[in-house]
């Protein structure tokens, strides 16, 4: 999802436009407008439609159309989409009318929702040998713990710690390797320069919190037989919530949201000197803090106990074949090619700016040079690949969207009032369970 993140800053604007269109979307909800998603059922040339938000995906598809696709007479047409949750809604609406495209891009946490709506096809039979190209923790997200395969991983977002190397030196700070040191660093900075914050706790991106919880060992959704178990309010996540809540309460860090003009300014002027983020951060920093190019450095995420070496992931997406597709085998073949073929992956990295999920691609030629913004750290991608290997497995459920929405409201209000983050976490757990039960899911206690 790096490409999503690259444009996160512009998302404020994009969301606003979406707001203007929102009413229209409501009206159009019951109807379907895309009949081109269906290919011809007869033998002969096959034409596939692919909904993706990755910039330059059409160029990557052209490589297929002129290469392996030409041989099989399979043509892929890319239709550019809005990213993330907006696309999930659109896919589900199209699926309701049985007119979904053949292939869709989907974030990992959206897969259970899509599978639960029977929108994604099981392509286990078509993707032999693909599994080995990916890290275990990444692949497991596309199987939902079953024998089925619902998607092929495309990009991943291993989390890292970004900091202003020059200002850390100036304030005499050490790069924290544990969260305890992180808290001490925040406090030490406050003492030396009261107007400066180490970072902010932002409640407007649930993915960050989910990634941090994942690093702490949380498994928010698991299955027990035919029942779902929700463990959002369990020990690992509570540890994360209390940690950040404590820092906000004592005023050691800021409590204002990310991706605002004010946040950009804080990063650009050294008012905030670190950011817990993921591998796609260079893109975001390039637009948010252009004046500080070359002054940042990347380090592994602080750990909960010394000697540990785990990270979470924030973002990342996959390519899935829909149940509406009449050419599932051809679509699955394209999805495998797109995410495992070296030529395709290089093109994806170059045209789409993604960080590939396929492990061999992470050290390919496309990643020998550091991102321009991090020219001062030549081994950026070598270190990134090492960190990516330590990604903890994640566990998504069928109503991640509800948990994420509740997070935003509950934690925004807790951050604003500097009140108990534990209470906000309980709200998140309760609302998620209540929603599952309302829908009729069996929920284990």
């Amino acid at each position: 999802m790096p490409n999503t993140k690259l444009r996160r800053l512009r998302r404020w604007g994009a969301t606003s436009v979406a707001v203007a269109l929102g009413t229209t979307a409501l009206a159009a909800c019951g109807s379907s407008d895309d009949s081109e998603g269906e290919g011809k059922a007869e033998s002969g040339p096959v034409s596939l439609t692919y909904w993706s938000w990755t910039p330059g995906m059409d160029k990557v598809a052209d490589l297929w159309n002129e290469g392996p696709g030409r041989k099989d007479r399979v043509t892929v047409t890319v239709k550019k989409q809005a990213s993330g949750d907006t696309l999930v809604t659109k896919i589900l609406t199209a699926h309701k009318a049985r007119k979904g495209p053949d292939l869709v891009q989907a974030e990992y946490q959206a897969l259970p929702t899509l599978v639960s709506n029977d929108a994604l096809a099981d392509i286990a039979g078509e993707v032999d040998g693909v599994k080995d190209k990916f890290a275990e923790g990444v692949w497991q997200q596309t199987t939902l713990g079953s024998d089925a395969v619902y998607a092929i991983p495309q990009d991943s977002g291993p989390m890292m710690f970004y900091y202003r190397a020059d200002l850390f030196k100036k304030y005499g700070l050490e790069v924290p390797t544990t969260w305890e040191q992180f808290a001490d660093t925040a406090r030490a900075l406050k003492k030396k320069s009261p107007g400066t914050d180490l970072t902010t706790f932002s409640a407007n991106d649930s993915g960050l919190f989910a990634g941090l919880a994942q690093q702490a060992g949380a498994k928010w959704w698991t299955t027990e037989g035919q029942k779902w178990k929700v463990a959002i309010d369990d020990a690992p996540t509570r540890r994360v919530a209390d940690f950040w809540g404590g820092l906000v309460k004592e005023g050691a860090i800021d409590n204002q949201p990310m991706y605002t003009p004010a946040w950009n300014k804080a990063l650009n002027t050294g008012k905030q000197i670190a950011w817990v983020s993921a591998v796609w951060a260079p893109g975001t920093l390039t637009t948010a803090a252009p004046d500080t190019k070359g002054k940042w450095a990347m380090a592994p995420l602080p750990q909960w106990s010394g000697g540990e070496n785990v990270t979470g992931s924030w973002g990342g997406s996959s390519t899935a074949v829909t149940t509406d597709s009449r050419h599932k085998a051809a679509a699955a073949k394209f999805a495998s090619w797109l995410n495992t073929d070296p030529e395709a992956l290089t093109a994806l990295a170059k045209e789409g700016g993604i960080y590939p999920a396929a492990t061999t691609a992470q050290t390919s030629d496309a990643f020998t040079e550091p991102p321009a913004y991090f020219a001062n750290q030549p081994d950026f991608y070598t270190r990134a690949a090492d960190i990516a290997k330590t990604t903890a497995p994640s566990a998504w459920g069928p109503n991640v969207n509800v948990a994420y929405t509740t997070f935003k409201d509950a934690f925004a209000s807790a951050a604003k009032n500097k009140s108990d983050f534990g209470a906000a976490l309980r709200t998140m757990q309760d609302d998620t369970v209540a929603d599952l039960e309302k829908q009729g899911f069996e929920v284990a206690e």
Binding site: G30, L92, S116
Partner: protein, 307 residues
């Protein structure tokens, strides 16, 4: 004879033929979607087991369950109260300003009237989302020029995106954008008042202020009712301003206004059924409030006419 009968039949059918296009459009794009929304609101999704794979999800009859949930939802009530507070700020200020501007433009000795009229109207031409983004930048303490100036002058800098001031911040956007439109409506009806009326008043020795209060305002009362009616509906449906400001602050939740809750339920949580129920309730309340107001205004007019 046959031709005569056909002709008379044709004349009889003519009104219906003329009505047909409007009726078809009404049925297709108004009645049918509303009917579908009501149908959705009476159903819900039922999941079996883990809810994975084909056939795990089905749409079942829910009766009034969604409505019961909607009406007992404290968040929706809170949202309604927030919107009420917002409306109590927006409507009097916006209509008051619109009336004052219209009266001022209607006086005889005003200079640069066309330019002023355009200048006051122009913000209405700015889309609400764009206006909210513009104001958002001006409100954010770290990037706001106002805060910069206040800081330089050593004055306190209020945070407009939090607590009570948030209502002022949101109202300000609506007032800025809506005053011009309402002013034009009132101004147009002021221009329609015949000049003889003023002449008679002046001969009777009325001052400009008396003319404004005793003659102009009563005579434009129907436009005031109309603008008030529109403003009530616009207030109940407030959506784009708070949604645009939401990413900038921790103080605006995703369910700040009732309509935001509908959007959140439908597209955030993917629960289109409860969203439909909430939408129907909002539509009903809007209808009740706005037509209740129109009725009250009409009966008052009749009373006055009877006097």
């Amino acid at each position: 004879m046959t031709s005569a009968r056909r002709r008379s039949y044709g004349v009889k059918g003519a009104p219906y033929a003329f009505l047909l296009p409007a009726a078809v459009l009404f049925a297709l794009f108004f009645a049918l979607p509303i009917g579908y929304a009501v149908w959705l609101s009476l159903h819900k999704v039922q999941v079996k087991g883990l809810g994975l794979g084909a056939g795990a999800r089905s749409e079942v009859w829910a009766g009034l369950e969604n409505y019961a949930d909607t009406l007992s939802d404290s968040e929706l009530l809170d949202g309604a109260l927030r919107v009420l507070g917002y409306g109590a700020l927006v409507i009097p200020v916006m209509l008051g300003l619109a009336l004052v501007f219209a009266l001022m433009l209607d006086t005889e000795r005003v200079r640069l009237a066309p330019f002023t009229r355009l200048a006051i109207f122009l913000p209405y031409a700015v889309p609400g989302v764009v206006a909210a983004m513009l104001w958002g930048f001006l409100y954010l303490p770290d990037v706001s020029p106002f805060h910069f100036v206040l800081d330089r002058l050593g004055l306190p800098q209020p945070d407009l995106l939090d607590g009570g001031p948030l209502y002022i911040a949101l109202s300000n956007i609506a007032v800025w954008g809506g005053t011009g439109f309402n002013m034009i409506v009132i101004y147009t009806s002021l221009r329609a008042i015949p000049a003889e009326v003023y002449e008679a008043a002046r001969l009777d020795g009325a001052t400009p202020l008396q003319i404004a209060v005793r003659i102009k305002i009563p005579m434009v009362a129907p436009s005031l009712v109309l603008t008030f009616f529109f403003s009530i509906i616009a207030t109940l449906q407030v959506f784009s301003e708070p949604t645009t400001l939401k990413p900038l602050t921790n103080s605006v939740s995703t369910t700040w206004s009732p309509l935001m809750k509908v959007y959140q339920d439908a597209f955030g949580k993917g629960d289109i059924h409860s969203a439909a129920a909430t939408a129907v309730v909002i539509a009903f309340v809007t209808l009740l409030l706005s037509f209740g107001f129109l009725r009250a205004a009409n009966s008052r007019n009749k009373q006055e006419a009877a006097r």
